[in-house]
Symmetry: C2
Subunit: 884 residues, 2 copies
C-alpha cells in the first residue's frame, strides 16, 4: 500500500491521534483524539496536509493513490452513518472544513450541508419530517457553495433573500416558510448559473471535490497569506481538509449549537464560559446574525445536555491540560462535539489560568511558564486602546514602543515642554535627535515619519516606556508650519491624535484607553521564571529614574549606560560644544573639567541606585557632530550663548560632517584621538565609585569601550582607564573593584575576539551595530527596503527587531567561542535592542551568554523568555534523547 | 657560560657569520662573513641586537654578563692589533657603528677615531709620523663625539672651525696646520665643557661606553622611528653595535677611502661603479665635503689596490649573488674592506641586474623574481619627478595614484575639458563624484582635499593611470571662487601646480618630470613571473579603452566592470535620471528601454575587446541619488533639460537622501526592489554576447550580483537573470555560455558563504566594502583617524591600501572554506582595490583564490606579486620541511 492520505475517525475510534497536527492539522488531530477518547463527535475523515502541499507543488493535481482512499473513506462514512450520499431517502450530508497545524481563525473557508441536491433535499425532509429545515439547509448550502467554491459574491444571494423577506413583509429568516425557501432555492440556482455559466452541481461527489479543492485554494488566499506573515507561520505547512457527517442544530427547539471556553479567556477566571443558539446551525453563532444566549441558560433549557457538555469539556481540559475552546451541536437533545482546541486568551488570563492550573496540579510550573508568549507581557505594562472604541486609523507606522497614547499634536521639543503643562501632548516629528530629549520626556507619545525600529525615537521611547510609532511614512511633517498631512487631511498644533505603539496605528482624535493592572499572579508567575532561568537580565538605563524603573521590573544590574545622553542636558551641552570647538588639547581639557562634576554626579546616582549590582558604563560613542548645530541659525544661537563666532561653529559643523557617520569618527575612535575624553569619563566613574565606597555603599562599575574592532584599540583605551583609575583611587585613598571590557559590535571585533579577550574582562554584544555592519544596513535608511525584503520573503523578519541568528548570530557565536577560549571566565552579555526580543533572548541563552540587557519595560519579557529558553532546552534534550 | 653578547671578527676568522643578521645586524653579519672568507677587514667585534633590546626593556641597563664579555673583546682586539687603548705610543683607535637587521641609511649615527685623548694623540702622531693627521683626527673625534654622544649642536664646532679659517684667511680644512688644529682642539674642549658641564672624557673606555649607548639611543631617534614606519620595520628588532679597529685613509696620498657598487645601481649596467677620495676618511665621501673622484681613476693612481679591490668585490658579488654596495679604506697602500651589503637600486636596474645574473648563471629565475619589490614596477609605468629638481612642497596628501603630473589648476570638470584644449590641466576639487568623470579623463592629474585611498577620485584615477593626490587636507578648495588656499597662499585658476602621486607631495609651480621607459628585460622578466604564478590576474575596466590597456599590461580577463560608470555619460544620464524619477514601473521601463541600446553596445565593446577571456560584469551598485542633482540649481538645470518640474526632481533627491548611503539602498537591493533594472542589464549583456557569438567571436560574460548578504537575495536576482537570458537567447536563436555569481563584500555574506555558494558559480571578494563593513570604517570619512591609528601603531597600515589579513582576511578565509565546501569548483577572485597590492595579492594566493583583479596599471605588479607568492610558498615549505 502507498502513502496514507485519508484518516478516518468516529464511533470511539480513529486512524490518527492528537499528536498528528503536522499531518492532520490541528482540527483533524483534535477530532481524531476526541473520537478515540469517547467524546461524541460526528464521524468523518481528514485529508492530510501532504495532499495540500502536493496540490501546490504539482500544478493543483492530486497524488495518484489519493482517489482510491478518498472514495473508500466516503463509503466508510456512509456505512458509519448508515446514510448514502445523494440518497433521496436519507441522504448523507457533510461539512467540509480546513484545518492547518496552527489555528488560523477566520482565515479558511468552511462549507456545510454538502450533499444536498434537488432530490436529497426531499429525502432529508422526509427523514427529519421537517420540510422547512431541509429547504433552508439546501438554500444555505447553495449560498455557501456558490460563494466559497465558485467565488460568487455574497450579496448576490443576500439580495435575493432580502427581496423575498421584503416582499413578504417579514424581518427574520425564520419567518420564511417552505414555499418561500423553495422559491429562493430556484432563484439561487438561476443566479448560480448566470454567474458561473454552469448548473448548480447535483452530484454530491462533484460537490465534495469542489469543496475540497476550495479548501486547498483558500490556503493561498490573501487573508491566509497575510495572517501567516503576521504570525511567522511558514507557507509550506499546508492545510488539512476535514469531511465530517453533518449534525443539525436547527431541527427545532430541542436542537441547538454553541461555542465555549472552559475558563474565561479574558480574565482567566475559572468559569464555564460560552454562548449558544437553539434551532440554529454553527454559522449563526459565528456570524453573529442572531444574538446568542449565555451558556448558563442552557442549564435551564436542557439540563441533561448541559451536564453532559460540562462533563465532556472538563474532561477535555484535563486531557489537554489547557483551557479548551470548543464547538458543539445538539441534534434533538443529542450532544455532538464538533471541535476543541486550546483557547486563545489575553495575557492577564494566560497568567491567571497558568498559575491556577499549577495549583490544581494540572500542569507543572515549567508548563505554566510556556503558556504565555513573552511578548504578551507588554499588554500588562502599558495602556491599551479600549476595544469598544471605533477607530479612525489614518496611517500605520512601525510599532516602535508599545502602549497607547493620546495627546494634542506638538512639533518641537520646546513646544512639547510648554504645552505639556496644560495637558497631554503627542510629539510629532520627521525624526528625533538627541536634542529632542526634553520634549520626548514630557510627551505622552511620539510619532515620527522616518526611522526604523532602532531609530533614535524608537530606542529612547522604549527606554522611557513611552508609546511610539516610528517611520510612519504616510504622514508628511512640517515642523516649521507646525502641522502634518496625511491622505490630504491636515493636523495642526493642538489637534488630538492617538497612537498605538503596539500596532503602529495612528488614529484620528481622542480615543479611550485602558490603564494596565498588574495582578498578584503576575508576581508569582515571574518568580517561577526567575527560579528557572540561567540567563541574567539587566536593563539599559542612563539615569537614576530609569534605573529605578528597571529594578522594579526585576533587572539585575545595568547592562548599558550611554554616557552621551548625559551631555545633552541644557546646562551641560554648551560645555560639550566648547570641548568640540576647542582649538587644542588644553582648551579641550578646560571644557572637560567643567563636564567632570556633572558626570561624576550622574555616575554616583546610577551606581547608588543599583548598589550591589553591576553597572556597565560605556564611554562616549556618537560622532561629535551630533552635538553641534544642524543649521546656520542654530549656529548663531549657540554663538550668542557661548561667545564663539557663529562662522567658526558652522565651519566646525561642516568639518565634522561625515558621509557615513555610522562608519565614521565615533566609539573608541574618539577616545583614541582625544584621550582626555576617556580620561575625564574614567575619572568621573572611578571618583563616583570611590566616594560611594567611602560611604560604605557597594558598587561595581564596569567600564565599557565601544566599537572595538582590534585589540590594539582596546589596549590603548584600557591603558588610559587603568592609569586614571590608579591615580584617582590613590587620590581618594580607597580601592574599588572595577572592570574594563568592550562592546563586540564590529564584525572584525567578532572574528578577532580571541585577541580582544586577552584584554577584555567582559564582552557586551552590540547587536544593533553588529546587524548594521554585518548586513551593511543603515538602520536609519534600511526601513524602506527591509519592508520589501520581508514582503518578498527574502527575509523572515526585520533583523533589527529579531536577531538574525543564521548570519549575525554566527558572528556572535564565533566571538563567544573565541572569547571563552582566550579567557575562560569572560563575562558575556548583549546590550543591543535584541536583548528584549524573546527569540533573541533564547538565542543568547543557547549560545552561552551570561546576561541580556534591554530597556526597563522589556525586562519582564526577557525574564520569561530566558526561563522558556531553559525549558525548551530541556525538552529538546529529552526529545533528542528519545530519538536515540 | 651565559648568553653570548659580543661576537669577535678579524684575521680570517669570526665568531659569527653572514646569516646572523637578526642577532648581529646586517653590517655585523657582513663583517663576520667577510672576515671568514678572507676579505681584509679591520678586526673588531659586534655587540648583539639583543643587548639593544635589553637596554630598552630594562631602563637603559645592560645585561649582567655583558661587561665581562665586552672587556674581554677589547683585550682581544688590542691583541689582534698589537695596540693598546689609550696608549701614548701606539694607541688603538676604533670606529663605532650601528647596524640593524635592515639597512637604514643615514638613520643611525657613527663615531670614528674613538680612543684619542690628549696623550694618545701624541702617540698617534709619533707612530704615524704625521702630527697634523693626528691632531686633525683628534679634532674630528671631539666634534663627532660632542655632537653624536652628547648632543651638542654641530654649528657650535663649525663656528670655531670657520672662525679659525677666516682668521687665517684660508678656505679649506686642509689649509690648517698642526698648530691651528691644536688651538681648535682646545676651543672644542672648552665648548664641550661649556655645553655639557663636564670635561671631554680622556678615558677611552668611558668614550667607548658613551658611544655604544649613543648607538643604542639612536635606535629610537625620530629619524630612525620615521624610517622604520615608512618601511614597515618593527621597532623591536634593535640594532647591533660594531666596534672596529680604525684604519686611516687620511695618512697621505698613498691612502684613501671610497664607496662603490659592483654594478650600476641606476641603470643596472654591469660596470664597476663608485667613487673615492685620497687622503681622506670615509665620512668625507659620505658627507660630500670634498668632491670624490670616479673609481676608474683609482686604476691609474693605485693599480695594485684597484685590482685587489675589483677581485675582492667581484668575489663578494658571487658570494652574495647580488650587487654589492661596499666601503673601503686604503691605509698606506693597504686595502681594507669596511662594509659590504646588497645594493639598493632603481626598478629599472633591478630588472636588468636580475635578468643578467640569470644569464650569468649566478642566480635562478626564481631568485631573480624575488629581487624586485612588486611595488617598484610602478616606477616603470609612470612619469617621475626629475631628482635634480628643487621642490617647493606646499602640502602632502595621500599617494592615491602614482606618477607625477604638472598642469594648470582648474576647479570643475567642465573647466578641465575647456582648458585642456590649450595645455595640461590639473583638476583640483574638494572631492570628486561620478559626474566629474569627463573632467578627470582630460586632466593630467587630480588633487582632492578629502577622501581616502579608495575614494572616488583615487579609484577612478588609478583605473585611468592618472596621477592623483587625494585627501590633502591642508588645502582648502573653493570651487565657486576657483581657487585653493594652502598655508596662507592662494592658487587661482591657471596657476601651475605639480603633484607626485607616488609620494603624495603637492608642489608649487612647474617641475620637470621624466617619462618612463620600458626595457626589453622587463618583458623577459614578466614572462618568467607569468610562467611561475598560479594566480590569474585580471583588470578592473569599464570601457574598451581601459580593457585594451589592461590586455597590454598582461591582464587575463576583466574581473570587474562597473556598469554604473556607463550611466554618467552625457547622452545617457538624462535617461537614467528619468528612470529614477519615474512614478511607476511602466515609466521606469520606458526610460530603461532607452538605456538598453547603450548598455548593449558597451558590453559588446568590452566583450569583443577581451574575446576569449572572462568578463565579469556587475549589475548596478551605487545608490540612485548619486545620479540626481546635489543642489537646487542643478535640479533646475536638469528640469530645463528633461522637462520634469524642478520641485519634483528636488523632492526626489531629498527623498532618496540617506544618512549612511554606504549602508543604504544600493547593490542588489536596487535590483530586488526594481527587478526591471536587472532585467535591462541582463538583457543587454546576453544580447551583446549573442550578437558577438553570431559573428563567431568567443565570449564569456560573468554576471555578478553585488552586495549579497544572504542567499535569498542572490536567488531572487539570479532568477531574473536566468529568465531574461533564456528569453534573449531564444530571441537570437543562439546559445551562449554565461555565469552568474556574486560579490562577497558584506560580512554576513562571508559567514553564510556556504549557503550562497549553492547559488553562485563564482565569488568575487569586494574587499573595499568588506573592509568598510568589517571594520566599520567609511572610506570617505576614516582617513582622519586612520592616520592617527597608524601613527599610534594601533594599525600597521591603512586597511584600504593593504588588506587587513588578521581580521578582514579571516572573513575571506571563512568564505573561501565555506564556499568550496558547498561548491567544489567555485571560481574565486578579488576585485577590491587590494587586488593590486602585493602583500594582499600574496594573501590571495595563500588563501586559494583563482585570480585577483586590479586597475590596469597595477596588473604587472600583481603578476609579479603572484609569482613571488609561489616562490615564498616553496621556500616556506622547504624551511618547514627542514625544521622537521
Amino acid at each position: 500500500m502507498g502513502k496514507k492520505y485519508v484518516y478516518f475517525f468516529g464511533k470511539g475510534k480513529a486512524d490518527g491521534n492528537g499528536k498528528m497536527k503536522d499531518l492532520l492539522g490541528g482540527k483533524g488531530a483534535g477530532l481524531a483524539e476526541m473520537s478515540r477518547s469517547g467524546v461524541p463527535v460526528p464521524p468523518g475523515f481528514t485529508i492530510t496536509t501532504e495532499v495540500c502541499n502536493y496540490f501546490y507543488e504539482n500544478k493543483k493535481k492530486l497524488p495518484k493513490d489519493f482517489k482510491a482512499q478518498f472514495d473508500q473513506s466516503i463509503k466508510k462514512l456512509e456505512g458509519a452513518m448508515k446514510k448514502k450520499f445523494g440518497s433521496t431517502e436519507d441522504p448523507l450530508l457533510v461539512s467540509v472544513r480546513s484545518g492547518a497545524k496552527f489555528s488560523m481563525p477566520g482565515m479558511m473557508d468552511t462549507i456545510l450541508n454538502l450533499g444536498l441536491n434537488d432530490k436529497a433535499v426531499e429525502g432529508l425532509a422526509a427523514k427529519t419530517g421537517n420540510t422547512r429545515f431541509a429547504w433552508d439547509a439546501y438554500r444555505r448550502f447553495i449560498q455557501m457553495y456558490g460563494n466559497v467554491v465558485m467565488g460568487i459574491e455574497k450579496n448576490v444571494f443576500e439580495h435575493i433573500l432580502e427581496a423575498k423577506k421584503e416582499s413578504k413583509g417579514v424581518k427574520n429568516d425564520t419567518d420564511l416558510d417552505t414555499d418561500d425557501l423553495k422559491q429562493i432555492v430556484d432563484k439561487y440556482k438561476a443566479a448560480y448559473k448566470e454567474k458561473t455559466g454552469e448548473d448548480f452541481p447535483q452530484d454530491p461527489y462533484v460537490q465534495l471535490c469542489g469543496a475540497r479543492d476550495a479548501v486547498f485554494k483558500s490556503w493561498m488566499n490573501d487573508r491566509a497569506i497575510h495572517y501567516r506573515k503576521m504570525n511567522k507561520i511558514p507557507d509550506d505547512l499546508g492545510t488539512g481538509v476535514n469531511v465530517q457527517a453533518m449534525v443539525f442544530g436547527n431541527m427545532g427547539s430541542d436542537s441547538g449549537t454553541g461555542v465555549g471556553f472552559t475558563r474565561n479567556p479574558s480574565t482567566g477566571d475559572k468559569m464555564f464560559y460560552g454562548e449558544y443558539l437553539t434551532n440554529a446551525q454553527g454559522e449563526d453563532v459565528v456570524a453573529g446574525v442572531r444574538t446568542p444566549k449565555p451558556i448558563n441558560e442552557l442549564e435551564k433549557e436542557m439540563p441533561g445536555v448541559y451536564n453532559q457538555l460540562r462533563g465532556i469539556t472538563s474532561r477535555l481540559e484535563k486531557h489537554y491540560k489547557d483551557v479548551q475552546d470548543f464547538e458543539f451541536t445538539i441534534e434533538k437533545n443529542n450532544l455532538y462535539m464538533l471541535q476543541t482546541r486550546n483557547g486563545k486568551r489575553t495575557a492577564q488570563a494566560a497568567i491567571k489560568i497558568a498559575t491556577q492550573m499549577v495549583k490544581e496540579n494540572l500542569i507543572s510550573k515549567e508548563e505554566a511558564l510556556m503558556r504565555l508568549q513573552p511578548e504578551q507581557i507588554d499588554q500588562l505594562l502599558h495602556p491599551v486602546i479600549d476595544t469598544n472604541e471605533k477607530l479612525n486609523v489614518i496611517a500605520k507606522g512601525l510599532p516602535a514602543s508599545p502602549g497607547a497614547a493620546v495627546g494634542q499634536a506638538v512639533f518641537t521639543a520646546d513646544e512639547a515642554v510648554e504645552k505639556a503643562k496644560n495637558g497631554p501632548v503627542l510629539l510629532v516629528r520627521t525624526e528625533t535627535c538627541p536634542d529632542d530629549i526634553h520634549g520626548m520626556e514630557v510627551a505622552k507619545g511620539i510619532l515620527t515619519a522616518r526611522g526604523g525600529m532602532t531609530s533614535h525615537a524608537a530606542v529612547v521611547a522604549r527606554g522611557m516606556g513611552t508609546p511610539c510609532v516610528a517611520g510612519c511614512e504616510a504622514i508628511k511633517v512640517n515642523e516649521t508650519a507646525k502641522k502634518f498631512e496625511v491622505k490630504g487631511k491636515t493636523y495642526n498644533e493642538g489637534d488630538w491624535v492617538t497612537i498605538d505603539g503596539s500596532t503602529g496605528n495612528v488614529i484620528d482624535g481622542k480615543v479611550k484607553t485602558i490603564e494596565p493592572e498588574i495582578s498578584g499572579e503576575f508576581g508569582v508567575f515571574m518568580k517561577w521564571a526567575d527560579a528557572i532561568r540561567r540567563l541574567g537580565v539587566r536593563a539599559n538605563a542612563d539615569i537614576p529614574r530609569d534605573a529605578k524603573k528597571a529594578l522594579e521590573f526585576g533587572a539585575q544590574g545595568i547592562g548599558l549606560c550611554r554616557t552621551e545622553h548625559m551631555f545633552f542636558a541644557e546646562e551641560r551641552l554648551p560645555f560639550m560644544q566648547q570641548m568640540i570647538l576647542a582649538e587644542n588639547e588644553q582648551e579641550r581639557r578646560k571644557a572637560l573639567d567643567k563636564l567632570f562634576p556633572f558626570q561624576k554626579e550622574d555616575f554616583k546616582g546610577l551606581l547608588k541606585e543599583m548598589k550591589g549590582y553591576g553597572v556597565t558604563i560605556r564611554t562616549l560613542d556618537p560622532p561629535l557632530h551630533e552635538f553641534l548645530p544642524k543649521t546656520r541659525e542654530e549656529a548663531q544661537e549657540l554663538s550668542n550663548k557661548i561667545g564663539i563666532p557663529a562662522d567658526k561653529i558652522w565651519a566646525k559643523s561642516h568639518e565634522l560632517h561625515e558621509f557615513n557617520p555610522m562608519l565614521g569618527h565615533r566609539g573608541c575612535r574618539l577616545g583614541i584621538t582625544y584621550p582626555e575624553l576617556t580620561e575625564m569619563q574614567a575619572k568621573a566613574i572611578i571618583a563616583a565609585a570611590c566616594e560611594l565606597a567611602k560611604e560604605g555603599i557597594k558598587v561595581i562599575p564596569e567600564i565599557m569601550i565601544p566599537l572595538v574592532g582590534s585589540v590594539a584599540e582596546l589596549k590603548d583605551q584600557k591603558a588610559v582607564v587603568v592609569k586614571i583609575a590608579d591615580e584617582t583611587m590613590k587620590e581618594y585613598g580607597v580601592k574599588v573593584k572595577y572592570m574594563v571590557g568592550t562592546m563586540i559590535e564590529v564584525p572584525r571585533g567578532a572574528v578577532t575576539a580571541d585577541e580582544i579577550a586577552r584584554e577584555a574582562e567582559f564582552f557586551s554584544f552590540g547587536t544593533n551595530d553588529l546587524t548594521q555592519m554585518g548586513f551593511g544596513f543603515s538602520r536609519d535608511d534600511a526601513g524602506k527596503f527591509i519592508k520589501i525584503y520581508v514582503d518578498k520573503k527574502i527575509m523572515k523578519a526585520d533583523p533589527f527587531q529579531t536577531l538574525d541568528q543564521d548570519g549575525i548570530g554566527q558572528l556572535v557565536k564565533i566571538a563567544v567561542e573565541k572569547g571563552k577560549k582566550a579567557r575562560k571566565d569572560i563575562k558575556l552579555g548583549i546590550c543591543g535592542e535584541h536583548g528584549g526580543d524573546p527569540d533573541s533572548v533564547k538565542f543568547c541563552h543557547r549560545v552561552g551568554l551570561n546576561y541580556v540587557s534591554c530597556s526597563p519595560f522589556r525586562v519582564p519579557i526577557a525574564r520569561l523568555a530566558a526561563a522558556q529558553a531553559v525549558i525548551e532546552g530541556k525538552r529538546a534534550k529529552k526529545k533528542n534523547g528519545k530519538a536515540k
